[in-house]
């Protein structure tokens, strides 16, 4: 059974983490060096998060439909995204298995993977603070 019952739950959890990261004084400038717009398309439940990572631009994060034209699209199950943010996904293996598919200049996003690690404990803490202990321990 999927971790999230609908798109809103994805936005309330993973989406919130991305929104917070986009305004984080320490991390946001590093992420914006990617200089791209990435769209995460999730299955089960169908949902999408579009993130602007561009130097000199605001860190916009859109849920669902977006006017931002993505340069990179990462497609996966929402469960895979959730486990990634908990630090439980080997991205190389997930790409090799096709659990994550990527379209566009993938390198712009791959270089962010090591930078994302400080967000793993934050995501777990955020879930606990949100009362989603059912998700924090998976």
């Amino acid at each position: 059974m999927a971790y999230f019952k609908d798109a809103q739950e994805v936005y309330d959890t993973i989406g919130k983490l991305m929104q917070d990261a986009a305004t984080d004084d320490e991390l946001a400038p590093k992420f914006r060096k990617a200089n791209t717009i990435v769209r995460y398309e999730y299955r089960d439940p169908e949902s999408a998060i579009t993130v602007r990572l561009q130097e000199g631009q605001p860190g916009d994060v859109d849920f669902g439909a977006s006017d931002m034209e993505p340069e990179v699209t990462m497609t996966m199950e929402a469960d895979t995204a959730h486990r990634f943010w908990l630090g439980g996904v080997n991205v190389t293996v997930a790409l090799a298995r096709g659990q994550i598919k990527a379209s566009g200049p993938v390198s712009k996003i791959l270089k962010l993977v090591p930078l994302a690690k400080p967000l793993f404990p934050r995501y777990k803490a955020q879930l606990e603070a949100q009362g989603r202990t059912d998700l924090a321990g998976v």
């Binding site: 190389t92 298995r97 990527a102 379209s103 200049p105 390198s107 270089k111 993977v113």
Partner: protein
């Protein structure tokens, strides 16, 4: 040795190797469904007479050569790919045969992709990005029959699911990775490398050695990858210098074709490392030939990666022993001995030892390091490098 949580292994390409195979090209390619073949090559190879021999081989098997596209430059790009696809359509071709090195083979893969699926080349950039059944979750839709006859022994593109193509507008090389890009057929015949200049044989051979060493020492190593990569190292040790010193040594050339073909298998499935992460931007930004860049960067990366822990030190030891290196001692000793051996090999092959000799300026290092961080080969490296680590590695290699 640990049992891995996950690995997969697949070599979808049917490989035939031996002597006198060019004359049977049509007989073999017919088994893959080809009838009207678009032969893709470059002007240099066409000038050697090899294409005439392959054409005769295609026709001897009852197939037609619908056309010959010989406009692939050394550093091919998206425009050439589209021109090749258009030429195939205009000629009424139903299949593609690449006769050349990595640039020719990757151009052919891209052309087949556009010929089959349409769109712009960059539309398909990414990982598992080609059309699939079941709304993207099922089996990938096949390309038109695709075969390759490599004329260098290095890139292994004749059996990999990857195409690397230059986008001049964006000033980058990008990759497309998906199973249908694995050719249906690869023909390894040393006659196809008979006119290979020694300096290219040397550089491409070092590319194969890099694939093999990184295949064994990547975090994505696997028992299957080990079997292929370690035997590739044996073959390279026994044949590379012979093939370069004596282009008439058909045994050495044939064995190098097999070595390159074996060595690419782990790389094509993600068992690679940061030698490639460093070498790709050297090629994209400064035109350093891939094999030369790998030859320069590999020893520095070995010395860096050998500190990844005992398991990886043992893996470097296994590679070193097959190259005839005394691999006793601790990780630093193993790494130093193996790196020195690679430097010595490059020197004996007449290859440059410094990136600066290839036109890479010191002020270019920060951008090269930033590029290397985003390379797909960085994630499966046994040690997680920082951008500062890359700066230091480039400084050493400069």
């Amino acid at each position: 040795m640990s049992f891995k949580d996950f690995f997969q292994y697949a070599v979808p390409t049917r490989v035939i190797a031996g002597r006198g195979l060019l004359e049977g090209t049509g007989f073999e390619f017919a088994k893959e469904g080809a009838t009207r073949v678009m032969l893709v090559t470059d002007e240099v190879i066409r000038g050697t007479g090899l294409v005439d021999k392959v054409t005769a081989g295609v026709e001897d098997g009852g197939l037609e050569v619908a056309g010959v596209f010989d406009g692939v430059p050394q550093d091919s790009d998206t425009e050439v790919v589209v021109a090749c696809a258009n030429a195939a359509r205009d000629a009424g071709a139903d299949s593609f045969l690449a006769v050349g090195g990595g640039s020719v083979i990757d151009t052919t893969k891209g052309a087949d992709m556009i010929f089959t699926h349409g769109g712009a080349v960059a539309d398909w950039e990414g990982v598992w990005s080609l059309p699939r059944e079941r709304d993207g979750l099922g089996r990938p839709r096949p390309l038109a029959p695709l075969a390759a006859i490599p004329t260098t022994a290095g890139t292994g593109s004749e059996a990999s699911p990857v195409a690397v193509i230059k986008d001049r507008e964006r000033g980058i090389k990008f990759f497309i990775l998906d199973w249908p890009l694995s050719p249906d057929l690869a023909i390894l015949d040393p006659e196809a490398t008979a006119t290979l200049p020694p300096q290219i044989a040397a550089a491409t051979g070092m590319d194969a050695l890099t694939h093999a060493v990184e295949g064994v020492t990547s975090t994505e190593w696997s028992p299957h990858a080990d079997a292929f990569a370690l035997h590739a190292i044996r073959l390279i040790h026994a044949n590379l210098e012979r093939a370069v010193a004596d282009p008439g040594d058909e045994d050495a050339r044939g064995n190098m074709l097999v070595a390159a073909n074996l060595a690419i298998a782990p790389t094509g499935l993600g068992a690679t490392g940061i030698t490639h992460s460093m070498s790709h931007p050297c090629g994209a930004r400064y035109g350093v030939p891939h094999g030369v860049a790998n030859a320069i960067n590999l020893p520095w990366v070995i010395e860096f990666n050998v500190q990844a822990g005992d398991e990886y030190a043992d893996r470097f030891r296994a590679a070193a022993e097959l190259l005839g290196v005394d691999a006793a001692g601790d990780a630093t000793t193993i790494g130093g001995a193996l790196a020195d051996h690679v430097r010595g090999l490059s020197s004996r092959l007449g290859l440059p030892s410094r990136l600066s000799e290839m036109g890479v300026p010191e002020e270019g290092i920060p951008q090269l390091a930033a590029d290397a961080m985003g390379e797909g080969s960085t994630l499966p490296n046994p040690r997680e490098p920082t951008e500062e680590d890359f700066v230091e590695l480039f400084r050493r290699a400069l």
